[in-house]
Amino acid sequence: MQAYLRYAPALLRKAERILQSRADAQDVVQGVFVELLQTDSPREDFPYLYRAVTNRCLNMLRDRATRARLLAEHDALLRGPERTSCEERSIDLQLLSKLAARLDAAHAEVLICHYFDDMTQEEIADLTGVSRKTIGLRLARIRALVSELVGQPRGEA
């Protein structure tokens, strides 16, 4: 309960930034806490909850029916200011949904961390517990896929 009071606003903002839907962001955060409280020894630290929200948002985007609805109804203003781009290209909801469908969970998490949370490679490495080199490789793969999806030549990684 204390974790909810403390972290729910930040987690809602994060989910809204990804899904660009207030209602779906509420569903995501609600789901995270319901699941959390059904476990015997729940983790309640902010980094863990932050990652849990990422994964739930990605699951929503991978669901075909949910994805179609989000694309039809999303509020782009909830994305917030963008300070990180992929080769100066904005990763909008449409592109994100395509990427989420093509990337595995590990790559998709890096995608969200870097392009939606504006995290550096070092921060992502700390959060996910893998090396910075691995994060760099995953970002390179993401950039290559973005180039492929938007039909442009790959830029420098």
């Binding site: 903002r13 209602a23 319901v34 932050y50 300070r83 995290m119």
Partner: protein, 233 residues
């Protein structure tokens, strides 16, 4: 895209900065960056101006009404207690986020009533607020349930929906710490499909494995029906 003077302060760090969860040296360096960088400062100001913290503070007072639930099994008592507290809190947040906290909940919605004091109100909610008196649903419309019940019926409740011969549970089972007038059940759900839906709330722990229609539900329960938009034509 807005330009940062250097490396953007991530939303993750900005949120932790706002929560005062960063180590002291990092807290200082973020503050220094924000003082110089309009781009990151804008993001930080959006966090500060969000206002949901005030909504949550208001929830604490409402939690005083929560009492220990009636667990399904002794070994699960602690889990259900915290689950109930958290579920209620989450539900209250959802309600508050769709209407100002000081404004009483608007009456209305598709209603099912029974003579024993049970009533179920189905209310459509969307990003613009609550839709009163919904008699029909479009695909993916989102609904919440307010349940009125006499005090003796407090305890475990399940939400069951019946559509075209199929039964499903649109919301997780939950525990009402107390019964009364218009208790909002936790969570929202979406309806889809081209057939009418009977949405029912069943109180107690009766086995409904074999139940396939609202008429076969054991007592006590209350149901409301809603039609798909397509059936208007």
């Amino acid at each position: 895209m807005t330009s940062c003077i250097g490396e953007p302060i991530s939303y993750f760090r900005l949120e932790r900065f706002a929560l005062h969860e960063l180590p002291a040296d990092e807290q200082r360096s973020v503050a220094e960056h924000l003082a110089q960088c309009p781009s990151c400062r804008t993001c930080h100001e959006r966090i500060q101006a969000d206002g949901r913290e005030q909504d949550l503070a208001a929830l604490v007072a409402k939690l005083q009404d929560l009492r220990a639930p009636q667990p399904r099994a002794a070994g699960r008592a602690r889990g259900w207690l915290w689950g109930t507290v958290a579920l209620s809190l989450v539900g209250l947040l959802a309600v508050l986020s769709t209407q100002p906290p000081t404004q009483p909940m608007a009456p209305g919605g598709t209603t099912g009533t029974k003579g024993d004091g049970l009533a179920l109100e189905l209310t459509r909610v969307d990003e613009g607020g609550q839709q009163l008196e919904p008699t029909r649903f479009a695909p993916n419309d989102r609904f919440r349930i307010a349940l009125s019940c006499p005090p003796a019926l407090a305890g475990n409740v399940r939400v069951l929906a019946f559509q075209a011969g199929e039964k499903f549970e649109p919301l997780p089972g939950q525990t009402l710490a107390s019964c009364g007038n218009r208790r909002m059940l936790v969570g929202a759900f979406r309806l889809d499909g081209g057939a009418p839906v009977d949405v029912c709330v069943l109180l107690g722990d009766a086995d409904v494995t074999a139940v396939r229609s609202r008429d076969a539900l054991p007592e006590p329960h209350v149901c409301a029906s809603i039609e798909p938009v397509a059936s208007e034509h």
